[in-house]
Amino acid sequence: MLLYLTRRIASSLFALLVISVIVFLLSHLSGSPVDALLPDDATQEQVDSFIREWGLDKPLWQQYLTFLGNALQGDFGTSLKWPGEDAMGFVLDRMPATLKLGGLAILISVVIALPLGIAAAVYKGSPIDSLAQVFALLGQSMPNFWLGIILIWVFSVWLGWLPTSGTGTFAHSILPAIAIAWFQVSALARLTRSSMLEVLDAEYIKLARVKGVSETQVIWKHALRNAAVVPLTYFGILAASILTGSVVIETVFSWPGMGWVAIEAIRGRDFPVVQAVIIAYAVIYMLSNLVVDLLYVVVDPRIRHG
């Protein structure tokens, strides 16, 4: 088991290293920051001093090593768009807002999707099952920015129950969280349903019933424990994509999180900040998958002892 975890962590770190190379190169492919940041009529001296200041005159690999060395200390340089702001610090300042929204969306997804998927499997072919299918179809076919706009129109403009955008109270986070969660609810519920259906047919479920185990226990203890592996795998992707995929929704709802920073930084070709955002996203992605790997160990004894 220790070997299993070591391997997981090692491969995460390696992936992170590869991402750092890509991130470094991408920012350089998108055009010189000189053109973006200095006025058109800048003198050659201004340009030269700028290049020297940012190390843009050195060979690419040297630039990368400098970048990596600084990055390891959390130093991604200072923002070009927001002068005086430390790039990573600026991103980290926005992280709590994203985590808050993402956390709520994850909570909504799991709390709705698991029971929905289980109920759909247990009462296969019943109205509950059909309802779950329609719900899933809706969630997966609506783009979330469109859903966000519709939600604003219905609940903020028409009914006036919730604020249209911005942040501050809990009420502000409800609509964006739902907009993010719906797609994930659909995916997770469908996976839970199919995985449960398969397990419910197994001989050991029959044996549990034969032993006199109640139906509730059969479903929540015997079946779910085995069916959980598939939705759990997806949960890693879900958590990661909710946290990193909030870019669009944060823009729709003017939610001042990392996604919003990412969009603004890209617009301004503020590449220290863009790099910081991408690395921060990558770390979130790795961590949530690592948590899932740990959960596997809890759920499936074959991994614990394998």
Partner: protein
């Protein structure tokens, strides 16, 4: 109970199960009557699809929901009618009074729980006690089914056990609550022959110790001969012949039974090709008049194709019944 020693433990009368499908409905269990006494082993024999497993599942009332249901008959355990129990009462019967051993040891244990957890779950449901006692009793049950080093095996997950070992754990679950009846549904089909023989010997040893009744479901007439006291032969959802092992092997009354016995290889005597039964059973949802075995029967005449044969007393003493026109003619 005020039952005499000789009264049957389990008495099934005129049991009928109906399955409804889009293509129509049919009866995989059609008018079954049989009984099991304490210490007795009843073999239910028949080919795949004859309704053996349906019979087993209907005894514990665990038929597939919606699709199948018991439409008539009676199942009495120690004189108590099981068909009129509520679902909660029936749950108390399952595992504690009637236990079951399922077909496939590879898949009938839950991979997420240890052997001990799965044994003590049954114990906890039917005779609760503190955790440490449950564990000790689980180890005890493993010892009874002759698992070596039970105090270590108790903490093993199914994936860490061999096929024969898993089957023993399934057996340990079944006997843990000291049931009156064990239903074994082809428990050895997927085991190799030596393990199979050991397991069957173990079952009869346990039976001698506890006096439980066993219902043994199989398609293998060879096993039946060694293990069972009485036999019920099923074909197409009906009992075509029933009686003691000695009678049926000595004088099979139904041509189907005769053919099945003929299909078992023998060590001595007659050499040559084994007999097989040509053809397939009828399609359940299609209307049928006459004896369902008639199309495959060498001795069938016009009447066999047109009229369903009655159940008749083959030897005149009520110990050997068969449903065949030929028996009447003798």
């Amino acid at each position: 109970m005020t039952q005499s020693q000789d009264a049957p433990l389990l008495e099934v009368k005129d049991l009928r199960v109906e399955i409804s499908t889009k293509a129509g409905s049919f009866f995989p269990v059609n008018g079954h009557s049989f009984s099991v006494r304490s210490g007795e082993t009843l073999g239910i024999v028949g080919e795949s699809g004859s309704g053996k497993s349906m019979t087993a599942m209907s005894l514990v009332r665990l038929l597939p929901k919606h699709a199948a249901r018991i439409t008539q008959g009676s199942i009495k355990l120690n004189g108590r009618e099981l068909l009129s129990l509520s679902e909660a009462e029936m749950r108390k019967v399952r595992g504690s009074e009637i236990a079951m051993i399922l077909q496939d040891p590879q898949t009938s244990l839950n991979p997420a729980f240890t052997a001990g957890q799965q044994i003590s779950e049954a114990l906890r449901l039917h005779s609760p006690g503190p955790r440490s006692t449950l564990r000790a009793r689980a180890i005890d049950a493993l010892r009874k089914v002759k698992v070596a080093a039970p105090e270590h095996r108790v903490d093993n997950y199914p994936s860490e056990l061999s096929g024969g070992m898993r089957q023993r754990v399934v057996g340990a679950i079944a006997i843990s609550c000291e049931p009156k009846i064990i239903i074994a549904d082809e428990p050895t089909t997927s085991l190799d022959v030596t393990v199979q023989a050991q397991y069957l010997r173990l079952l009869s040893e346990l039976q001698q110790e506890t006096g439980m009744g066993i219902i043994f479901i199989t398609h293998d007439f060879g096993i039946v001969a060694n293990l069972c006291h009485k036999i019920v032969v099923m074909y197409f959802g009906r009992i075509v012949e029933s009686g003691t092992v000695e009678r049926i092997f000595a004088r099979p009354a139904h041509p189907y039974t005769e053919a099945l016995i003929g299909a078992v290889p023998k060590l001595r005597g007659h050499k040559g090709r084994l007999r097989t039964i040509e053809g397939q059973p009828p399609i359940p949802t299609e209307p049928l008049s006459g004896c369902p075995f008639a199309p495959r029967c060498e001795k069938a005449d016009n009447r066999c194709f047109n009229e369903l044969p009655p159940t008749v007393d083959a030897d005149g003493d009520g110990e050997h019944l068969a449903s065949c026109w030929r028996v009447l003619e003798q």
